[in-house]
């Protein structure tokens, strides 16, 4: 179901932690359905906090946030039924095998046992994990683990997928594998909000980018628009100019 209304929409998102001041100081976001939207910024800019709030893992202090047409404060269950989360914190079980992880999370996504087994089989195949399916995740390579993490977040074919720094710490080849998987998802209609510190990643994957720094939005636009707005040749220059000027 594709509608014109944004898949993710926030206004004036604010969040502060005691003793550490404002993590988010009024974030406005609008993400069109079926697109890959990048949240780009240095460490501590508020990227992860934004995603945690949108994924119902953290509470907002003030402002409004809607995901897949559901309010993240008043309808947590509705949001949770429509999202997938993968990345640095939403982990998989290290002791279990890849298949056991998928089947367990599928059951927790309220699938029947038979359906859970079938869906796990599909995802293992799709992410090239059939051979490693019955080995403990602890022995997986970084790339395999991220692919499993991604597979788990896709069990219920979410409308909106949050990827928090999905390629941090990966070697170049694994990074490209994850990028390919993310592109495929967007092609099939999933909306992806991706946080990253890598400019190249944002440039290659995202149709729109929101740059954040110190809890505020410093720029928003397509990669090309951001480059031309500062008269620079590449995103690196735009990024440095925008985050320093803030």
């Amino acid at each position: 179901m594709i509608t014109d209304e944004p898949a993710i929409w926030t206004q004036g998102l604010r969040k502060s932690y005691p003793g550490r001041g404002a993590a988010l100081d009024g974030i406005d976001l609008a993400v069109a359905p079926g697109t890959i939207h990048g949240l780009l910024g240095p460490n501590g800019a508020g990227k992860t906090t934004t995603v945690r709030i949108l994924a119902t893992l953290a509470r907002l202090d003030s402002g409004q946030a809607w995901v897949a047409g559901r309010n993240v404060v008043h309808d947590r269950a509705g949001v949770r039924a429509r999202i997938g989360v993968a990345g640095q914190y939403a982990a998989v079980d290290e002791v279990l095998s890849g298949r056991q992880n998928l089947e367990m999370f599928a059951r927790l996504y309220r699938m029947r046992a038979k359906q859970a087994r079938q869906r796990s089989g599909e995802l293992l195949e799709r992410f090239g994990l059939v051979e490693a399916a019955d080995r403990a995740v602890r022995g997986y390579s970084g790339g395999m683990r991220r692919r499993l993490d991604l597979a788990v977040s896709l069990i219920r074919s979410p409308r909106v997928l949050f990827l928090d720094e999905p390629t941090t710490g990966l070697d170049p080849r694994s990074r490209i594998e994850v990028w390919d998987a993310v592109r495929e998802l967007a092609d099939s209609g999933t909306t992806v909000l991706l946080t990253t510190q890598y400019l190249e990643e944002a440039d290659r994957l995202c149709s729109r980018i929101t740059m954040v720094d110190r809890g505020r939005v410093v720029a928003e636009g397509s990669p090309a628009e951001l480059k031309s707005s500062v008269g620079g040749r590449d995103l690196d220059e735009a990024f440095l100019l925008l985050t320093e000027g803030a």
Binding site: Y17, R52, A55, T56, L57, A58, R59, A77, R80, A81, R82, I83, V85, Q88, Y89, A90, A91, V92, D93, E94, V95, L96, Q100, M104, F105, R107, L108, Y109, R110, M111, Q115, R119, A136, V152, I155, R156, S157
Partner: protein
């Protein structure tokens, strides 16, 4: 491609789903034990060693102090060790929950449309199933050393029920601690705190042989109520019950665990919600 089915959010369906989710999470912890059997062996080693050490190394001397033969001391000892094993389970529970907080598995579960209480209750259920395994092994071992239940199967089942209830209470203590500590390392560092809980109680030494100031907390230790109650139900040797708690051991063996769960479960749930801050 699977489609999203809307789950009717009635009160009844919520309870059913909480039960299903709890079982799925419990199965995860049981699979851990199958994949890492050394952990189960480690847990079992404590009571097995305790039977050997306290039963035979110190047993004869304790028997002399209690004015009974060593074999009768061992009859007194085993119900104490059953309950002590339930208490030592707190360590594993705390470490496992702390690992799940650190590793992000709890966050993943919190982002799912699953029952929030099942995220934690699954661990408690797994602990209770594990307790059944541990108690079976201990009963077999006890029988091997000449320990006996004298009052028939009904008493044995009631006693095991009380022990499993105690384990459930300690499981919620462990879950709460696991959510509060800064990490699994801290949980391991504080593990020694289980010793006073397990031993300043009517488990290994009868409270009337303790100094007066120590006998009072030992008698009020929830562990003591379960131990005294199970000694009654097994028909085993018991120390003299002179205090109010000692005389009402059966009632207290139910009340204590229920009270502990009533305090720890809501606190753990509140803490789980606050993990995201």
């Amino acid at each position: 491609m699977s489609t999203l089915t809307e789950v009717a959010d009635t009160h009844g369906s919520r309870i059913t789903w909480a039960a299903v989710d709890t079982w799925v999470v419990a199965k995860r912890h049981l699979l851990h034990l199958v994949r890492r059997p050394d952990e189960l062996l480690g847990t079992l080693m404590i009571p097995v060693m305790a039977v050997a050490m306290f039963g035979f190394v110190f047993g004869e001397a304790f028997g002399v102090a209690m004015d009974v033969p060593g074999s009768e001391y061992r009859e007194f000892l085993l119900p104490g060790l059953f309950a002590l094993t339930m208490a030592f389970g707190i360590g594993n529970t705390t470490i496992s929950v702390a690992e799940d907080v650190r590793g992000g598995v709890l966050d993943r579960m919190r982002s799912l449309p699953m029952s929030p209480v099942a995220v934690l209750a699954g661990r408690a259920l797994a602990d209770m199933i594990l307790a059944v395994v541990e108690l079976s092994i201990l009963l077999a071992l006890g029988t091997l050393f000449g320990w006996q239940a004298h009052l028939g199967l009904g008493g044995v089942i009631a006693a095991l029920g009380l022990l499993i209830l105690l384990r459930m209470a300690f499981s919620w203590v462990g879950i709460l601690l696991g959510l509060l500590v800064s990490g699994p390392e801290a949980a391991m560092k504080y593990f020694a705190l289980v010793f006073p809980l397990a031993m300043v109680a009517d488990t290994i030494v009868p409270t009337d042989l303790m100094p007066g100031w120590l006998a009072i907390p030992a008698e009020w230790n929830p562990l003591s109520s379960t131990v005294i109650a199970t000694r009654e139900l097994f028909g085993n040797t018991a120390g003299p019950a002179t205090t109010w708690v000692g005389e009402h051991a059966l009632t207290m063996a139910v009340l204590w665990p229920v009270a502990i769960i009533a305090v720890c479960l809501p606190l753990a749930m509140a803490r789980l919600r606050r993990l995201g801050r």
